[in-house]
């Protein structure tokens, strides 16, 4: 990892067209950055990239998770019947393809 020290108002250039400007730092350990770059370069928080990856895993196959209900009983506390009824799920009998 390249480590660079910068002050507010200073900036970094990445590649040909991306500039990262340090706008503020300090309060609550947060850093405020400004990013200037071409529109075709996507900029997003890493948490979003992680969630994209997790969602692709989650969508891969639900059959293992479907068998999870007995395991969940060990969590004990859980949610109330009411909490699920509030979202008005469509009730089905038994799923196919186990």
């Amino acid at each position: 990892m390249l480590i660079v020290r910068r002050k507010p108002g200073e900036s970094l250039v990445i590649g040909d067209g991306v500039e990262v400007v340090i706008l503020e730092c300090g309060a609550g350990k947060r850093v405020k950055l400004g990013i200037i770059g071409p529109p075709e370069v996507n900029v997003y928080r890493k948490e979003l990239a992680i969630t994209q990856r997790q969602n692709r895993l989650a969508a891969a196959d639900v059959t293992d998770a479907q068998r999870l209900a007995p395991v969940l009983s060990r969590f004990g506390r859980g949610c109330s019947r009411r909490e699920i009824d509030m979202v008005r799920p469509i009730r089905v009998g038994s799923a196919k393809k186990y």
Binding site: A58, L68, E83, I84, R88, I90
Partner: protein, 152 residues
């Protein structure tokens, strides 16, 4: 009643008012905007989030309080606004919104993404997968190993 094809639940009949709309899709599935929520009583409290347009696309979801009874929502103002609520305060789980987490199988474990729960406005059924801000919740909270599941 409308009907949709699904991979895991055969053809389903649903009332149009039960559709859940995701104006921004889900990360990685940005074009998928309409889902329905399915429950099998014998698998409670699991819920299934089924795409209306892609029969193969179905997520397994748990109400957040099953895994984390003390969960605190920290949504970005943009996400709160997206689901049509007042962005000046956090929505209340169970009052303003339903909050659920998606499950994934990875490395022989079933994990839940507590970092980015599905949050649905209970009144309008508009939802977003809200990446939490300034939160320490894990994106791969361990729920169970595959062995535990197979043994059941």
């Amino acid at each position: 009643m409308n009907s949709c094809r699904t991979r895991y639940f055969d053809a389903l009949q649903y009332d149009p008012s039960s559709v859940i709309r995701f104006p921004a899709g889900l990360p990685g599935f940005e074009d998928e905007r309409q889902f329905i929520l399915i429950e099998e009583p014998q698998r409670r409290p699991l819920l299934f989030l089924q795409s209306l347009t892609v029969p193969d696309l179905c997520f397994t979801m748990l109400p957040i309080f099953v895994l984390s009874p003390d969960y605190i929502l920290r949504m970005s103002p943009e996400d709160i606004d997206l689901i049509g609520l007042d962005p000046s305060r956090q929505p209340r789980i169970g009052v303003d919104v339903f909050c659920g987490v998606l499950l994934a199988m990875q490395d022989n474990e079933i994990t839940a993404n507590l970092l980015a729960p599905i949050v649905m406005n209970l009144a309008s059924r508009i939802a977003v997968q809200a990446v939490q801000i300034e939160a320490d919740y894990s994106h791969c909270y361990r729920v169970a190993t595959q062995e535990m599941v197979v043994a059941c």
